[in-house]
Amino acid sequence: MKNLYKILGAVFVAYSLVAGMLIPLGTGIINVSPRVAKGGEPLALKIKAYNANFLQDKENYEARIRLNPNKAICANKVIVENDQELTLHFDLPLGKLPIQTLTEDGKKSSFPLLEISGTNNGYSSLESAIYIKDSLVDNENQNQNFCKIAPFTEVSESKMTFPFLNILEETIRNLFYHVPMWFAMMLLLLISAIYSILYLAIPENEHYDVQATSFATVGVLFGVVGIATGALWAKHTWGAYWSFDVKQNTSAVALLIYLAYFVLRSSFDDLDKRARVAAIYNIFAFAALIPLLYVVPRMVDSLHPGMGGNPAFSKLDLDNTMRMVFYPAVLGWMMLGIWMSNLGGRIERLMRIKLELEE
């Protein structure tokens, strides 16, 4: 029973590795051409998709370009070129098109939004897919061939997929490997701070000092892995390993504060004094960690997914498939982290006992 959390941790992490890598992404639109069209003319829009299986949906494919929440231009013909390519035929209306370019709070909107849906491939969309030049015709002559925005036909069988988001693409899976690092780090450092408080509150208990250090060590290890994995990902989505984004900067500062904790510890020879000073520093370090990781990044705009209108958690919050992998991954890494910390603590305690025996 004592080892249950270790087994569970290993099983959860193994599950998150396997499920997180094996479940495929949904269909996504990578590219459309042409990107510019003119009102009043027929438009043949070629689209290139990712992870699509268009040949299976040959009969029943729907597509439309949404101009605003209520108006759309529907494709009158959808031709399946091959598994990954479609050609959509539109008759663009004359006159000024009611394209909503800004959202209500003044940000760039997702319109014109290209939406496609098939019974087998499901729904996929591309934001700001095409630029449509208005044709200069009197409003009276305007032929209003907008179509009604009706919900697409339901997907026949629900397949297990992760959502396809442009830019993120397959790296959406990093949610199961990068994000749990931070969750687990937070828990380990919290436990470390609690041990430090206990050390100060209960006299003559070296055990708490040992545990506090051990948990902080593994917590910082997780933080370093979190920063490194984030940097690798940033290189291929933001363009640079380090782009001085708020999230990157504050987490680096938080880790430096904890590195100073270890420097502080190693600068004392007297065990008792070292434990007391380190415990006090550890409590302050944890107190600084919360605003650095949870308050400051929320106050400034950041590139990080889930912030500043960037796609991530707003969409993922609704995605049950991702949750099914994400929560076990977080729990698993937390339990593994506690296991690792306890191991380090046990070895350190043996070293202390050995020192006492020598004396």
Partner: protein
């Protein structure tokens, strides 16, 4: 045992059922940037190995002292 190892290795290889398309030219942007995720898992693995090495050195110290 060999089968179990094979299954473990295979589970680390991404299965992209219909991923003939590529979204970029360099290695990492290939196949929807899946290798970025593979790299992330590799870094995770390196971090855990790093901790093992740290424990290993502590235990080795302890063993040496006990022998003396």
């Amino acid at each position: 045992m060999k089968q179990i190892i094979n299954i473990l290795i295979l589970s680390l290889i991404p299965v992209c059922a219909f991923s003939q398309t590529t979204t970029g030219n360099d290695f990492f942007s290939n196949i929807g940037k899946i290798y970025v995720t593979v790299g992330v898992i590799l870094i995770l693995f390196i971090g855990m190995i790093g901790f093992l090495v740290y424990l290993e050195r502590k235990v080795a110290n302890l063993e040496q002292d006990i022998q003396e």
